[in-house]
């Protein structure tokens, strides 16, 4: 698993996930998928985080279907969605243009795409990549096509993949049906944020469960260490922090599914709050394992790193809180990064 972890994609494991219907979760039944909501996907994400499963999910199985459903023509959907549901077509996500000046974003002329994108999610094993352009439109490009060069970026969590992609006049297909493409991009990112938060909750819960089990076994000073109040109180604080996150996750995912007015705000709050909580819980539970928590012997650090990735990617807590303030009109719209969001798609 360690070797796999360095790459973030393993075909054998992916086939198992295919068999479980993981890539089909968010694809409509009409296109061969399971037609489930983000709430269901969040439950799956939590399970994958809990197992620290080295496979693409938030990008390929959550964001990509949402993007295609929102921006692709009926013909395109009929062509792509069944292949995405089967897991054969795996689409990485390049939302870079949401966060950088338009001039630096990728652009398209005729059917040729050019530009540099960084922070591409689920790039390992991807067959294609959805790219947000500087004008808000979307293009689909083949990952191994002419003019496309993928540079994997080493990240703290070896179980998922992030890459930079250089695109030089690569053949690409435009997706043009979204009424408000910027709003769609934000909504796709919201879905990704919710999936990552779910993942982090699963990972932190695993660490907490592990710490509770360890505290019930490990003997020091002639006592099981879980009988010491100091450790008890730490673990009580951890569960008090973590458990309400799960309800917030479900609420945010449900609001997203319902396209509720407060869905973007809830996604921001969720991403920020879960990021802060899981960093704390990861520290507390690692400490609870003593030196063993720091070694590779128990492997606990894989979950620590999973939390770290989920916190950092698609908006840090500080960034998400700034957006939450902006969404509520408490501060003026954010300077460079976040573009006008309008109504949710």
């Amino acid at each position: 698993m360690r070797a796999v972890a360095q790459r973030g994609f393993d075909m054998a494991l992916w086939r198992e996930l295919q068999a479980l219907g993981v890539p089909a979760l968010r694809v409509p039944e009409a296109h061969g998928g399971l037609g489930l909501g983000l709430l269901d996907a969040a439950v799956a994400a939590e399970a994958l985080g809990s197992g620290s499963v080295p496979a693409p999910f938030a990008g390929v199985a959550v964001m990509a279907p949402a993007w295609v459903k929102g921006a692709a023509s009926a013909t395109q959907q009929a062509e792509w969605l069944p292949r995405m549901a089967s897991g054969e077509m795996r689409v990485a996500i390049a939302l870079d243009a949401l966060e950088c000046a338009a001039a630096r974003a990728p652009s398209m002329s005729a059917h040729a795409l050019t530009g540099q994108v960084s922070g591409v999610l689920d790039a390992a094993g991807a067959t294609h990549c959805l790219v947000l352009l500087g004008d808000g439109r979307t293009a689909l490009v083949a990952a191994d096509g002419r003019g496309v060069s993928v540079q994997a970026q080493a990240n703290i969590d070896g179980t998922r993949s992030v890459a930079d992609i250089s695109i030089d006049a690569a053949p690409a297909v435009p997706l043009d049906t979204a009424a408000d493409p910027w709003a769609l991009a934000h909504r796709v990112r919201d879905a990704g944020r919710i999936a990552l938060a779910a993942d982090a909750i699963g990972a932190a819960q695993h660490m907490l469960d592990s710490a509770v089990a360890w505290a019930g076994e490990r003997v020091q000073f002639g006592r099981v260490i879980g009988s010491f109040q100091g450790l008890k109180h730490t673990l009580a604080e951890a569960v008090t922090l973590l458990e309400p996150c799960r309800a917030l996750l479900w609420q945010a995912a449900h609001a997203h599914d319902q396209n509720a007015d407060d869905a973007p705000l809830l996604a921001c709050h969720l991403k920020a709050h879960v990021g802060d909580v899981t960093r704390e819980v990861a520290r507390m539970t690692t400490e609870a394992h003593g030196g063993m928590g720091f070694t590779d012997l128990l492997g606990l650090h894989h979950w620590f790193k999973r939390c770290a990735f989920d916190r950092q990617f698609l908006g840090t807590p500080a960034q998400c809180r700034d957006e939450a303030a902006s969404l509520q009109g408490w501060i003026s719209p954010l300077p460079v990064a976040v573009r006008p969001t309008g109504a949710t798609a």
Binding site: G216, G226, K232, A272
Partner: protein
Amino acid sequence: MDLSLSEKHQALADEVAQFLARHGARAPKPHAGHQPPDERMLDWHALLVEHGYSSRTVPRAYGGFGAAPDVLEGAIIAEGFARAGVWQGFTNQGVRMVAPTLLEVGTEAQKRDYVRPTILGRMLWCQGYSEPGAGSDLASVQTRAVRDGDDYVINGQKIWTSFAHYAHMIYVLCRTEPDRPKHAGLSYLVLSMKTPGIEVRPLPNMTGRREFNEVFFTDVRVPAGQMVMGPGDGWKVAQVNLKHERMKLGDPDKIVQRLHRLVTLMRTPQADGRVAMQQPELRARLLQLQAEAAALRAHHLRLLTEQAQDIDSGVKRLIVKLAGTGLLWRLSALAIDAFGEPGLRYAPHVDASDDDQVTVWNFDHMHDLGMLIGGGTSHIQKNIIAERGLGLPPEPRAASALPATTSGDHHRIRS
């Protein structure tokens, strides 16, 4: 967790909205409980009981609305009132704890005599639990009740008794079986505060308001029929009570209301022209607390859903008091900071509804500290969460089964 409202529940939400539109304007603004309720408050509360917006599931035979238990209904009603900023009637100990407890484990006579006036807010209750030597360690109470003919005779002292200076009734945890192990030696009695031999003395606290009292019992006679359940069952009855108390202390409606007040405060220019929302550090803290409040609110809905499905929520229920009281404390702390230097003002009036905004927040902040301590300190809460919730092993106990001597404590507190 079903997150969409069914038709029935949507109908209730609409009904509540209509009620509030029609009657909401004449709802009184409640005072904070330092004084007994006045007639306007009692009238309003009676209207709520009549419509089933308070004590909804209490059987009609005992004065309630007689609805089938449905926790989501309760949440819908509470949210409607909270959103409209309308007072949802008394949530005192009688309404919240005594009436449900008696309905669950009381005798027919006890239900008949007490439930109706209690849920109408006309019979007010206070709690005789803690003692100077039995705070966190509630099971070590020393107040004795000795059987004498058809009566019990109570001697001892209680402390932390809110409202004792105007309550009509008290429920008391007494030691009736001194030879039994400490939890098994307790009984639960209910009696009138007018019973001869009861003396109430104020116990001033840091807020400067009269909130708590000491209650002294000297040869107080109570008919044996005033005992809830049997001799030695007091701890069981108290557990039924405490279950409600802990939920209440993490009350998400209170959190939501307070958050709204805080947001309004922070968007309003202060005397010196500053707007707290424009101070980045304060805004960041507000956003953190807003997310935390949203999480606790969602968590509460989850608990209600599980309760409706008869699921034992386990650790999820146990964390509510710790999480809720901690958040309330941080909300009031931020409010004081948002005022800047003028945040040091504190000028409480006799009637709390006359207080200025800064005073209200400072009062809340100190009161929150009391809530962190009351109903089981944070340390006790963490023990409960770890041991009952996470299944960690108990401390090796030095304590014997008999209650510890507490005379040293009495001395310390009196000096």
